[in-house]
């Protein structure tokens, strides 16, 4: 799983964060990403099975039938909404459904529901990429990461944090609202200590977190948010661990 990230980056190398849930369904994809596209991959625990290809972009793989079946709509909406909170750009790679060996590939039945799903996604500014399978998806992921890197949005800090305290700080940054794993990594590497972040200006948070101004503002105000002890006390039943 681990790859050398300490060496100086060659310009062609891109960094991609992968949720651990992507591994079982994406062995082929990961192998192609590493071997053919020389991508640096770090497996971590994200809040869903997706990829992070830059400071601002997340990518999820879906099969065509995922988008065509009404039963999946609710889950897809939830996924997209949760990613919208964490990332400025979201891309869905829509993959052709896999056929079992020996089975003739069935032509995809394009339903009206599928089209209405596409219309909704496009209107929300979700990017769509189309893929014939795992191998092509790996190429698209590498292309996206490279494109983002060229635009100055590539993840430029090491993909791991060292030591127990570093890990604990990373976890704390992840529980800030609207902070993705990429932002949390940037905060971990760019601030001396947690107190340093807590006392930083909006501009410094924006720069250190490699994030948008509005996200930095949200963090800045959250750190200064004055809790109402009554509201805190009555918020039982929420997951707090």
């Amino acid at each position: 799983v681990k790859q050398d990230v300490s060496g100086s980056e060659s310009p062609a190398s891109v960094c991609i964060l992968v949720d651990s849930r992507c591994i079982s369904s994406g062995v082929e994809l990961m192998t192609v990403l590493r071997q053919r596209h020389a991508a640096t991959i770090h497996v971590c625990s994200l809040d869903g099975s997706y990829f992070i290809v830059s400071n601002r972009m997340a990518v999820e793989r879906h099969s065509q039938s995922d988008l065509a079946v009404m039963q999946n709509r609710k889950r897809l909406v939830e996924r997209v909404n949760s990613l919208q909170g964490l990332f400025d750009r979201i891309c869905l790679i829509v993959e052709k459904d896999r056929t079992k060996p020996g089975e003739a590939s069935r032509p995809f039945q394009r339903t009206r529901f599928f089209d209405s799903t596409l219309a909704g996604l496009v209107r929300t500014g979700i990017r769509l990429l189309w893929s014939s399978g795992a191998e092509e998806s790996a190429g698209l992921l590498a292309d996206l990461a490279r494109l983002e890197q060229r635009k100055g949005q590539g993840i430029a800090v090491p993909l791991e944090v060292k030591g127990q305290h570093g890990q604990q700080a990373l976890q704390m940054y992840l529980s800030l609202p609207s902070v993705s794993y990429a932002h949390a990594l940037n905060l971990s590497h760019n601030f001396k200590s947690i107190a340093h972040l807590m006392n930083s200006s909006i501009e410094a948070i924006q720069k250190g977190g490699c994030m948008s101004r509005s996200r930095a503002e949200e963090i800045y105000h959250f750190l200064r948010y004055s809790c109402d002890p009554f509201l805190v006390n009555t918020s039982k039943g929420r997951k707090t661990s």
Binding site: N81, G166, L176, K192, S193, I194, N199, S235
Partner: protein, 216 residues
């Protein structure tokens, strides 16, 4: 390039209808669109796009023949992108057995190089169904629309304080009675903390916030 006042096109057709370029008269696509209840307004001055939809969407249709023939459609798409302005530009690419082998290259050009949105369609019939869904979708609520999150912050603050090693829910609540914000808690000195959580945990909290985590 534009033969019509850009403002008129920017405003787009009325709800439920589509501006359609003249070359699409009597095409299967137009017939299907009519069948799907979309009102067609032919226009000979649409410029580069083939269709204008309500709510600032325009569409170029790249046919199987365009794809197989090669370069011409690329020049057209570059001009299309540059003229786009405030419209959302979609590109429908006819993907058939014949044109499929070129699809990856077309996608790379349209999406990665030009930054336009590509939607593959198998035929004009497919395209009509998709355009009809986009037009009719304007009247409905978009389930994917970004919702402004108006979450209660207090539980998030409580959860965050519990990320501090040695601090469970009881201690977190006690701390928040005294220091209402996370930043105040972070800036409290060990003596202030000691009165609430005892000597050991006070030291833990203080060093958690102030010990180096990165190079800064």
């Amino acid at each position: 390039m534009e033969t019509k006042a850009p403002d008129a096109l920017d405003a787009g057709p009325p709800c439920g209808s589509v501006f359609v370029g003249d070359r699409w008269r009597r095409s299967p696509l137009t017939e299907r669109l009519k069948g799907a209840g979309v009102k067609i307004l032919f226009d000979s001055e649409l410029g580069l796009a083939d269709f204008y939809l309500p709510n600032r969407i325009c569409i170029v249709y790249v046919s199987e023949r365009d794809v197989v023939a090669g370069q011409d459609y690329k020049r057209k798409l570059v001009r299309y992108r540059n003229a786009g302005g405030r419209l959302q530009e979609l590109v429908l690419v006819e993907t058939t057995r014949l044109s499929e082998q070129h699809f990856a290259a077309v996608q790379r050009f349209v999406v990665l190089d030009l930054g336009l949105t590509l939607l593959p369609v198998g035929s004009q019939t497919d395209a009509a169904q998709l355009i009809a869904q986009i037009v009719h979708g304007e009247g409905r609520e978009n389930p994917f629309a970004r919702r402004s999150s108006s979450r209660l912050l207090d539980p998030l603050v409580l959860a965050l304080v519990q990320q501090v090693p040695g601090v469970g829910k009881v201690k977190a609540l006690a701390l928040l009675q005294h220091f209402s914000s996370i930043r105040q808690l972070c800036n409290a000195d060990a003596v202030e903390l000691e009165a609430i959580v005892g000597h050991v945990v006070a030291q833990q909290i203080h060093s958690f916030f102030h010990e180096p985590t990165g190079p800064g």
